[in-house]
């Protein structure tokens, strides 16, 4: 979505509202699924495999919805520049709404387990504390920042696409304290906010309307910047285009913004609590790993070792 935000103004095409709403639906479903996946991993970190399996069972419902809406379960990529690959009809949206009811009921129980279980709260509370000041200084984003009391959400502060519609304004979940427990509860509460948005968007969408065909466009030269609120936080893209080809693409994934806090919050913690604290930041290590250089048709991928060893960019 950040890429679309950066490229679509360059292409100069008018995008219909239905496409925006469809993007909101896939984006929010993506967020729900990401948070459930994270919650499962978090349960695994403290040795509670049962809760892990229960969270991932609920996640299966979301994957089914993706299958119904876009035709693929995980790598769905439903978006095209200016339009979408498929139009969501009544059948698909009803399927989604039915599944949302199931998920909401189950998630209420599971959140109650995470909130009240004695051992879980003992492991989560007071570990990996990030105060408001520290979060501001480190420039943290996403649920990590919001659990520390920073009211920042790209969907709210710089509304894009369907989030700019008045009825679909996001109410960010805010918490104080910023320890592992607050971050966890923040994410679980966010799932319910996502479900509210999804219901509203499904209500507003017109199932009969078709999405436009893939429009031709040509960009001579230019650059665009776009950002979006990914499940883990603010995602930033910088795109430089020459003769309808991307010559430079710079991504700043939310994990890259949050990873800086590790050294500060892990100081003085027991090794038992390290997986819990790192897990509570929801890191996506693969999001930060590589650099790909494509030059004269040859592709070269650098990993972190080569990058740190000082391979010079020419």
């Amino acid at each position: 979505m950040a890429f679309l935000n950066s490229v679509e103004p360059l292409a100069g095409k008018k995008v219909p509202e239905k496409v925006y709403l469809q993007r909101l639906i896939t984006g929010e479903l993506e967020r729900v699924h990401s948070h459930m996946l994270w919650a499962g991993v978090m349960a695994h970190e403290i040795g509670l495999e049962t809760l892990f399996m229960y969270f991932w069972r609920e996640r299966e419902h979301i994957l089914d919805v993706f299958d119904e809406l876009t035709g693929n379960r995980v790598h769905h990529s439903p978006d095209l520049i200016g339009t979408a690959k498929r139009s969501f009809g009544k059948k698909e949206l009803d399927f989604m709404l039915g599944k949302l009811d199931t998920i909401e009921n189950e998630m209420k129980d599971l959140r109650e387990v995470m909130r009240t279980h004695d051992v879980i709260t003992r492991r989560f509370k007071k570990h990996g504390k990030i105060g408001k000041k520290m979060a501001k200084e480190l420039g943290l984003v996403g649920p990590v920042a919001r659990a520390s009391g920073i009211n920042y959400d790209v969907r709210k502060n710089a509304p894009y696409m369907a989030y700019a519609i008045k009825e679909l304004t996001v109410k960010p979940v805010l918490r104080e304290g910023g320890d592992s427990y607050e971050r966890s509860m923040n994410r679980l509460d966010e799932i319910f906010e996502c479900i509210r948005l999804l219901r509203k968007a499904a209500e507003m969408i017109d199932p009969k309307e078709a999405v436009p065909k893939k429009p031709p466009f040509f960009v001579k030269e230019g650059f665009g910047m776009g950002r979006s609120e990914a499940p883990r936080g603010e995602n930033f893209h910088f795109v430089n285009v020459e003769n309808n080809r991307i010559v430079r693409l710079k991504l700043r994934t939310p994990t890259l913004a949050n990873v800086i806090s590790y050294s500060a919050i892990l100081e003085g913690e027991d090794i038992t609590d390290v997986p819990v604290i790192i897990g509570s930041l929801d890191p996506c290590i693969s999001c930060m790993e590589r650099v790909a250089v494509i030059k004269d048709g040859k592709k070269e991928i650098w990993n972190s070792h080569e990058l740190f060893a000082g391979k010079k960019h020419d």
Partner: protein, 283 residues
Amino acid sequence: MSYLQGRNMIELLLVLLLIPLAVAIEGIRRKIVAHMHNRTGPPLIQPFYDLIKLFGKESFIRNNMVFSMVPYLAFLCSLVLALIIPFSVLKFDFDFLVIGYLFILQDTFYIFGAVASRSPFGTYASVRELLLMLGYEIAFLIVISLFFFKSGAVGFADYDTEFAILQMPFASIFLIFTAFVILRVTPFDVMVAAPEISAGFFSEYSGKKLAFLEIAEWLKDFLVYVLLGVLLFGKIYGLVLAPLFMFFYAVMLTSSPRYSTVTTVKVFLVLALLAFLDLFILV
């Protein structure tokens, strides 16, 4: 072999048959855990498949004698335990103390192997195990001695108290608690905490050596179930009710998260102190 005089080979064979039985019990335990996890789980004979595969694999051999010897020594510990616990093939006075020592010895071997492998995961597991040993092994030794003192038996074969759980509830609870660590069951399984220290002691083992370690662990687990059954419910009921403990610990494994290491060590130090108090009250 003077201890084995007057025993025929059939009894020894019976003990060797306990090994496949223990592996089969592990299969059932996995099925129960899978059921609690809301998944289908592996087939019942999956542990046998695992062992066949491990025996077929080449072992990553280091030029390290302690590291190579540990799996066989640990397996031997379990085997000697199997001679004592269910049928008393090997019997002598005060063999219940030897039961406690064998559990300590086996864990000590694991620590030797883990330290000799020089893996940081193994070293961390060893430190945790040593810290816990101060608590749980002492409590375990005291508590099994308590059961035998109370019944007036001098060996495992003479133990004939029935439903000791009703006569000495505190000691029974302590025994069930120490078994959490011996069986590596949450919330007290800090020495095998996968997200923190990988496979703990066994991180560097592979192939045949890992297979022996696995058999040693499964046989030990099986014998702990039987020991708990016999001590708490008596000889006849104990053998019948031993699967109940397997079920109990499988349910505990799936229904509780892990305490942090500090909390676990604290719990078991307190437990050792309480066991001491219990001993004095009885004496």
